[in-house]
């Protein structure tokens, strides 16, 4: 099915087989997979790699996704406007629940609590960040994932300094029935929360990444036995990425291949 969506100009056929799959390609496909079960909802990817992932998903596994131009217009897969969604309506969709946001995170902890507020004491922070933004509302209303372009123990921490986005420990204690933190995708690995107590779990490591490296660069304990490898994108997905979605290779600057 996906093959039908590949542009048939034939020019890209040669390098498709010769060019190696990059780390950025893997990250984009992992972000696309976030939306696989979502159906006809608003995808709100923040940042380049999640945006490419959402657009790739819409062209392959999740054709019903709605996507905006980053301002107030919903654009169809061909780039034509198909709807109007100013911020006030985005807030309505948050409460309505038909949304999957992929946010950034200055810190994420072992229960999926996320911090984008500040580092250090809140009354006089060492480093002021963006602010809570919509993280508290997103995480108690609809599915939320996180994208971490530079995996390190300073980002993947045991406990966050400020809870902006709500994690599983707090959601369960508070009985928050719409809470649904889905996955964390980084430049090294994918995490999920499919554990009895909602603790984070290493779901897969990207091709070429040593599990020990992930463990060393993560601030909480991760399993190291029998960890699957993140899938590589299909030929059809690579074709779409290279010829339609990101022909200039902007993704390679955000996630360089080691």
């Amino acid at each position: 099915m996906t093959g039908q969506l590949v542009s048939g100009d034939g020019r890209s056929g040669d390098h498709r087989h010769s060019r190696p799959v990059s780390r950025a390609d893997v990250c984009v496909a992992a972000c696309a997979d976030l939306f696989a079960d979502d159906g006809e909802i608003l995808a709100s990817p923040m940042g380049l790699i999640p945006s490419l992932g959402a657009r790739l998903a819409r062209l392959t596994s999740a054709p019903d996704l709605l996507l905006s131009d980053g301002e107030a217009t919903l654009l169809g897969p061909d780039g034509a406007p198909e709807g109007w969604l100013p911020f006030r309506q985005v807030f309505d969709v948050v409460a309505y629940g038909r949304r999957h946001v992929v946010m950034g995170a200055n810190q994420v902890d072992r229960y999926g609590n996320q911090n984008i507020s500040c580092i250090g004491p809140h009354d006089r922070p060492v480093r002021q960040l963006l602010g809570m933004r919509g993280a508290p509302g997103n995480t108690v209303n609809h599915r939320t994932s996180y994208w971490v372009p530079r995996h390190s123990a300073r980002v993947l921490v045991d406990a966050v300094d400020v809870v902006s986005g709500v994690g599983y420990d707090r959601a369960r204690a508070g009985g928050l029935r719409f809470h649904d933190v889905h996955r964390v995708v980084t430049n090294l690995a994918v995490f999920d929360f499919e554990t009895p107590d909602g603790a984070i779990r290493l779901r897969s490591v990207h091709p070429g990444v040593d599990v020990a490296e992930v463990a060393a660069q993560t601030g909480f304990a991760v399993r190291t036995d029998d960890v699957p490898v993140t899938r590589t994108p299909s030929a059809a997905e690579l074709e779409l990425l290279r010829t339609v979605l990101d022909p200039d290779g902007r993704r390679e600057k955000e996630v360089p291949t080691p």
């Binding site: 301002e71 100013p86 006030r88 204690a173």
Partner: protein
């Protein structure tokens, strides 16, 4: 009908120390910067600023006008953080009430509806509650019994917004893609001031032959006390379709946060003599 035209300096003169001022726009988009600059040039101080924050918040903090910021975020969009706001936070120069952005809307709506609070789910489980001991929850009186945040009203002493067009009576129009929350800021405020790129006759806003439809008229005159014609009044933030964000000047503004000397130089060059001098100084800087 009343002619509500006034100058930005006259708006600032109607405000008082310690007031709570709501500022429209979003991030670095359609901010009433000419009105903000008029506050910077005034003796006003100890303000509480309520904003989906951009350089409005940073500029007022840098100028020492702010006691407290009520915010969901402060960003320059293409520059993630406003360094002037960061400095104010990191030196403890301002107090904050940090909210989820939906809670901020909810609080403005409660004020607009003259309600003490409105329930919202956003905030539960997060540190928004822990950081603001004045926040309360409320339990549904119906069978579900769900606990929700009781978001208190955020009444404003004054609201400042910037739109593309207005008439002299206070009917005002946005021509870009997003109204943001400018109407809500006005409804939540005791005194409401709109600056605009151009004041035009009412018939030219959306009458026969006008380019825009009546639904672009975001504010009507019962929501507005003062109208300020301020061409370039959102600069350096965007005011599409009249102009986009001035990215180069915004970078210059951000770099002025480096130390007190760079800030003093920036303020002296751009903020000392009112809007015509500001526009001339920006033009000279860009040349």
């Amino acid at each position: 009908m009343r002619d509500k035209r006034m100058t930005a300096a006259e708006v600032a003169a109607e405000l008082a120390d310690g007031m709570t001022i709501g500022i429209g726009g979003w991030g670095s988009r359609r901010k009433p910067m000419a009105l903000v600059r008029a506050i910077v040039a005034s003796p006003l101080r100890d303000l509480t600023v309520v904003s989906y924050g951009g350089p409005d918040v940073g500029l007022l903090c840098a100028a020492g006008k702010v006691r407290r910021v009520v915010f969901g975020f402060v960003t320059l969009d293409t520059i993630p953080y406003d360094p002037h706001f960061s400095r104010a936070r990191q030196t403890g120069a301002v107090q904050v009430r940090e909210l989820d952005e939906g809670m901020l809307q909810c609080g403005l709506r409660a004020a607009a509806h003259r309600l003490p609070f409105l329930p919202i789910r956003a905030g539960l489980g997060s540190d928004v509650l822990a950081l603001d001991p004045s926040l309360r929850t409320v339990r549904s009186p119906y069978d579900d019994g769900e606990e929700l945040i009781a978001m208190p009203a955020l009444p404003l002493d004054a609201a400042l917004v910037h739109l593309n067009r207005a008439d002299r009576h206070g009917n005002a129009q946005y021509l870009g893609p997003d109204p943001y929350f400018d109407d809500l800021f006005c409804l939540a405020a005791g005194r409401r001031y709109v600056s605009c790129e151009q004041v035009v006759p009412t018939a030219e806003l959306a009458g026969p032959g006008a380019a825009a439809a009546p639904q672009s008229l975001l504010l009507n005159r019962m929501m507005v006390d003062g109208v300020v014609e301020a061409p370039g009044g959102a600069h350096p933030t965007s005011c599409v379709p009249d102009y986009g964000r001035d990215e180069a000047f915004q970078r210059h503004y951000a770099e002025a946060a480096r130390d007190p000397v760079t800030w003093t130089g920036f303020a002296g060059r751009f903020l000392a003599d009112g809007e015509p001098a500001y526009r001339a100084a920006v033009q000279e800087w860009a040349a």
